[in-house]
Subunit: 184 residues, 2 copies
């Protein structure tokens, strides 16, 4: 499902079968040759809302999907890092931006593509940012400058809606939710 083709065993290269192993509840890729079971699991996308005074940092995507659309700095979490480290790495890679992670803010499940977005509220540490390799443009925007019709992902739009609501109320409430088609 988003994990790419799974035809051959990672351990020995033989063709795998899909069936529910004894004691399991889900069909898995099982190797009839060496017995290795390869599990497939959802992927985590880590990101942030980098805040500088009244403004937040947005990136314009230089890559598919949603090339040309605006997003918060976010990307697939890597092995051996923490979620906040991943969010800070993505801000650096996509916007050459240094941030301090302040709060676990939104968690959105996107089950049709087996992804979970984890987005932190963060403080932008300086104004020395610029587009990274995956961004066409990076800028600080006020609420009335958000390109609502040109945001890349529902997780980004919903996080920004919550953020500005919460800023008005003065209390930032972590939230979770799910995104189903036709949202994306």
């Amino acid at each position: 499902m988003t994990s790419g083709p799974l035809n051959h065993c990672n351990a020995c290269g033989a063709k795998v079968d899909f069936h529910v192993p004894a004691g399991d509840t889900h069909a898995r890729a099982v190797c009839p040759s060496c017995g290795h079971i390869q599990y497939q699991n959802p992927k985590i996308v880590v990101g942030s809302v980098p805040v500088w005074e009244e403004r937040i940092l947005l990136c314009r995507r230089a890559i598919e999907p949603r090339l040309g659309k605006w997003t918060l700095p976010a990307g697939f979490m890597e092995l051996a890092e923490t979620a906040p480290e991943g969010a800070a790495r993505e801000a650096l890679e996509e916007a050459n931006a240094r941030i301090d992670i302040e709060q676990l803010y939104t968690l959105f499940s996107v089950p049709h593509i087996s992804q979970v977005y984890v987005i932190f509220r963060a403080r932008l540490l300086d104004l020395d940012f610029s587009p990274g390799a995956e961004s066409l443009d990076v800028k600080l925007v006020r609420e009335d400058e958000i390109p609502w019709e040109d945001l890349a992902f529902a997780s980004v739009r919903r996080t920004l809606v919550h953020f500005f609501e919460d800023r008005r109320s003065g209390v930032y409430l972590p939230r979770f939710g799910e995104i189903r088609p036709p949202e994306r």
Copy 2:
């Protein structure tokens, strides 16, 4: 790193090489035969704190790791489900317990094993629970009955510490953190 052996290409079965692809920042398993790149990413463990009046539901593990130790119902998130659905599924599988998910509560990164724990606060819906196949025992415990020395995982212990602190203050605050060796 926790993803099991990665010697052969999932797509075609040829032996893979590890190197940093053009435009990437991390070494990946790249197939020299068909060009497929197989990414490895952290896994999500979803769980809950199921609450019934003054008590919470704990499970005694029937499987390794930490066989015989006590835990909150939790397990690996599956493809095509949401995080709350996964947490509810685990409560059903491990404790035959029906829950309503109420709040995103704790998120712990465990980078040395590339896992992220996502634990929700939940309401236990009835008292008709019992040990599932992966549990030796399931019980409702008050704070003074928590087996603090026999909890399975640091993520569980820290979540319970926060939970009882927050219950005293009357405000449940979502938290994030990281777990490093020798904690586990």
